[in-house]
């Protein structure tokens, strides 16, 4: 068992964590850092800089009877290798004869440099439903068509419904609520060819696909298959926006997946609607004004 007193050394009450060098590309929103600065932080237990974290895990070893000490030692060893020093195994519970569940508290010495954090920042303005409607009416002069669904064997429509259904998500109304959006929700388990066909029939501006099931990376395979199908079915200029969302995606995966945008856990309908306006109306406006060679049939000035 690790010594609790070992923690005392770590205390640096009310002191900011040792500051690293300040780099230019800050993403921290913390009130203590000046805009444009990075910041070095450590996990916070009850004192600034104490570096305390809590983890839980299971080891496939017994902790019954005489095995208990060995099991706790094994947990402490793992915690140590994970960088917890000292590590406090505060809870060890046998789960049957073969497994033990542990809760471990401990200090990590690692520093987090916020200047090294890479995030995909929202590169479009967040609009209210009213602004979205207005932008579409002015820019497209027709309703913007969204076709959505869950592809492959995925039957979890929770995500797509949260975005599309008028009911919405987290108190925010879904895309069906936007007067200038026409939403076609195909629901669960839509085959890719069916999706392409429907997108074409509806003259979709954007295709929204939700993928929740991630076993054996099904969400990756399905999405790649879908984006390839759209590239194949449409000339590049006429292809609708292809957007995928789901709890296990990473925003930076768009290129790898071949889609225009990836939305992750916690995305709200307003973010999706604002993005649609940005990508389908604002960008098109800009391109048709800026370079005449980029004329498209659905340009804002048409």
């Amino acid at each position: 068992m690790a010594e609790v007193s070992g923690l005392d050394r770590l205390d640096q009450p009310n002191q900011p964590a040792p500051g690293g060098e300040v780099s230019g590309r800050g993403v921290s929103t913390s009130s203590t850092s000046r805009p444009g600065e990075g910041r070095i932080v450590r996990p916070y237990g009850d004192t600034t800089g104490d570096g305390m974290v809590q983890v839980s895990f299971t080891l496939p070893i017994s902790s019954l009877g005489a095995q208990a000490k060995l099991a706790e030692g094994a947990a402490a060893q793992l915690a140590g290798k994970m960088g917890l020093d000292p590590a406090l195994v505060v809870h060890a519970k046998p789960m049957g004869p073969d497994f033990t569940f542990f809760v471990v508290y401990g200090r990590v010495s690692h520093l987090v440099d916020t200047s090294q954090v890479r995030v995909v920042e929202r590169d479009y303005p967040l609009l209210t439903p009213k602004e979205v409607n207005l932008a579409i009416r002015k820019g497209l002069r027709r309703r913007l068509v969204v076709v959505g669904g869950c592809i492959g064997t995925d039957a979890h429509t929770v995500g797509i419904d949260a975005i599309l259904n008028i009911k919405g998500f987290a108190g925010e109304k879904g895309l069906e609520y936007y007067r200038e959006l026409r939403v076609v929700n195909l629901g669960a388990q839509v085959a890719v060819p069916q999706l392409v066909e429907r997108a074409r029939a509806e003259q979709a501006d954007a295709v929204l696909v939700s993928q929740v099931v991630t076993q054996r990376d099904a969400h990756i395979f399905n999405t790649k298959e879908m984006s390839a199908a759209f590239r194949e079915a449409y000339p590049a200029q006429q292809r609708p926006l292809v957007i995928v969302g789901g709890p296990r995606f990473d925003e930076s995966m768009a290129d790898e997946l071949g889609v225009d945008r990836v939305f992750v856990r916690g995305t709200t309908p307003a973010e999706v609607a604002s993005y649609l306006v940005y990508a389908r109306v604002s960008l098109r406006d800009a391109s048709s004004l800026g370079s005449s060679g980029q004329a498209t049939s659905q340009g804002a000035g048409a």
Binding site: M95, F101, V213
Partner: protein
């Protein structure tokens, strides 16, 4: 089939402590709700009786003992059905053309008949006169033997329950296993049983409900679940028999009949002594976009098989609340429960076999959300005092904050204890994060054990004030469900089909001339014959 009189929910004398009648619901209103459900359901039953489906016909072949598949894994029941269908259609039932071929000596048994038919070396016909009589008699004999095997499995269950006993507590603890690999599922199920699970459910691979065949053999690959196959059923039931003997209580096994193959999977469940099956009257329509007529025809046959097999069905009302708001849509749950009860009893299921579903899905930050949950749960208990209600944990408002989720699951368990729920699906704090880990399951069971130990008998002391918030809310939901049933009846033609088409349930619009599996539906012709249906209707 004569219409069965549906109980009106009078207080249940045998189980006075489970909370029946605690809300003091007006018996006239309750009778009215049931009467409306019957009026909504009756034309659907008539419609179902006039149709058959490829899956009903294949189930008949399965009951007759046709197993296995070809080199591509396509089941022989599918190959044989397709051949018969190509020659004479399915509208007369496939029993007569199939057994006519056997009586004619085209093959020694069903299996070799299917193989010959698959290569096109048999022509099926619709015999008449003495040939017809002989074909029918032969079909009835062989299918009847299959139904008797189902009967034998049911008696076997009754014997084993007597030997090993039922759990000594209510609700029964229901745990899900879903690795995709039956050989991983088996030890996990045994571990779950050791940890206190009374019911093990093997979740199916996500895509299975849309397969128009039942896969074959033991399977080791699935997405978010393990395929339902006869061999997987057999393996898991044998595994849990071992656990039952080890633990001294009969551990029940659950699987899913929903989807395009309801009748077949129900038959396999009966043949392999599964104990509970997910079987909802409208789930396939609303959530899987399966054709409504296909669903109602398949549902009726599959429930007749479950009734015969002594299987408890679990209905899927919890699903409504995953797409609609749990407060606004509370009455759709009650409405669906009433319909599931009507359809279930019409198909021969008894009260003890009706595991009507409902769920704890109200937005937790809503003021009085727990009181609302209690009102809804108690309404279900009082409306269906003898049904083994299935209480489903929160999923929609599980955010990934596992600590908050653990608390929410604790309140879910408490609501279950307070309202006398019968089957409690154990909630996982990692819902919406990962498929449950070993430790998640262990923690979840500790949560259940703590609540049941600390407050399991609290329902004895808990009686909502007659005009209080809970009783008032329950009356309101019942009133709204009556209004909904009346609105369904106000539709033209087959009211329920029209209501489903215009999105009355779960916000999804499902017209009856669309959806998957429609091409597998046929209107029965004059002289339609299906020995399985005949036997089951008479049950």
């Amino acid at each position: 089939m004569t219409e069965k009189v549906v109980s009106t929910g009078s207080p249940n004398r045998e189980r006075p402590t489970t909370g029946s009648g605690k809300l003091g619901l007006d018996p006239v209103t309750v009778r009215k709700a049931r009467g409306l459900a019957r009026r909504v359901g009756r034309p659907i039953v008539t419609m179902a009786q006039r149709h058959t489906t490829v899956s009903v016909e294949r189930a008949t072949l399965r009951l007759a003992g046709l197993q296995g598949g070809d080199a591509d894994g396509i089941p022989w029941v599918n190959r044989l059905l397709d051949a018969v269908r190509g020659d004479v259609g399915i509208e007369h039932g496939i029993a007569v053309p199939v057994w006519d071929a056997l009586v004619r000596g085209e093959a020694d048994n069903l299996s070799s008949l299917a193989q010959k038919a698959a290569v096109g070396s048999i022509r099926f016909r619709l015999p008449e006169g003495r040939d017809l009589t002989r074909a029918r008699a032969a079909a009835k004999k062989q299918v009847g033997a299959g139904v008797r095997r189902v009967d034998a499995r049911r008696r076997e269950r009754e014997r084993l329950v007597k030997r090993w006993g039922d759990p000594d507590h209510k609700p029964w603890v229901y745990l899900i296993v879903a690795t995709g690999d039956i050989y991983e599922d088996m030890p996990q199920a045994q571990q779950a049983a050791r940890e206190g699970a009374d019911v093990i459910a093997v979740i199916r691979s996500t895509g299975q409900s849309l397969l128009d065949y039942v896969p074959e053999g033991p399977t080791r690959e699935g997405f978010a679940g393990t395929y339902a196959t006869e061999e997987n059923f057999r393996l898991m039931r044998a595994t849990l028999d071992e656990s039952s003997a080890e633990l001294g209580r009969y551990v029940r096994l659950t699987n899913y009949a929903s989807g395009l193959c309801m009748p077949e999977i129900a038959s396999l469940a009966g043949l392999q002594r599964l104990d509970m099956m997910l079987n909802d009257s409208m789930y396939g329509i609303l959530f899987r976009d399966i054709n409504p007529i296909r669903t109602f025809v398949d549902q009726r046959f599959s429930r007749q098989v479950h009734a015969r097999a002594g299987i408890i069905i679990n209905t899927g009302e919890d699903n409504y609340l995953t797409t609609a708001d749990a407060v606004e849509a509370a009455h759709t749950v009650t409405t669906s429960q009433l319909l599931n009860e009507f359809f279930g009893k019409e198909a021969g299921l008894e009260d003890w076999q009706l595991g009507l579903g409902h769920a704890f899905e109200i937005e937790p930050s809503l003021p009085d959300s727990f009181r609302l949950e209690l009102a809804h749960a108690m309404l279900a208990r009082d409306l269906f005092p003898k049904a083994p209600l299935k209480w489903m944990p929160p999923t929609r408002h599980m955010t990934g904050d596992v600590f908050r989720g653990y608390l929410l699951d604790g309140f879910f368990n408490l609501a279950g204890a307070l309202t006398g729920q019968s089957i409690l699906l154990v909630g996982m704090m990692t819902e919406a994060v990962v498929t449950p880990w070993l430790s998640d399951r262990d923690l979840a069971l500790q949560n259940v054990r703590y609540v049941m130990n600390a407050a399991g008998n609290l329902h004895e002391d808990f009686r909502p004030a007659p005009d209080g918030f809970i009783a008032e809310r329950a009356r309101q939901v019942l009133g709204e469900s009556i209004e909904l049933l009346e609105r369904i009846l106000a539709h033209e033609g087959l009211g329920l089909l029209e209501a489903i088409a215009d999105g009355t349930f779960g916000l999804m619009k499902r017209p009856s001339d669309a959806g998957r599996g429609l091409d597998g539906v046929a209107r029965k012709a004059e002289g339609y014959y299906n020995p399985a249906s005949d036997i089951l209707e008479a049950t």
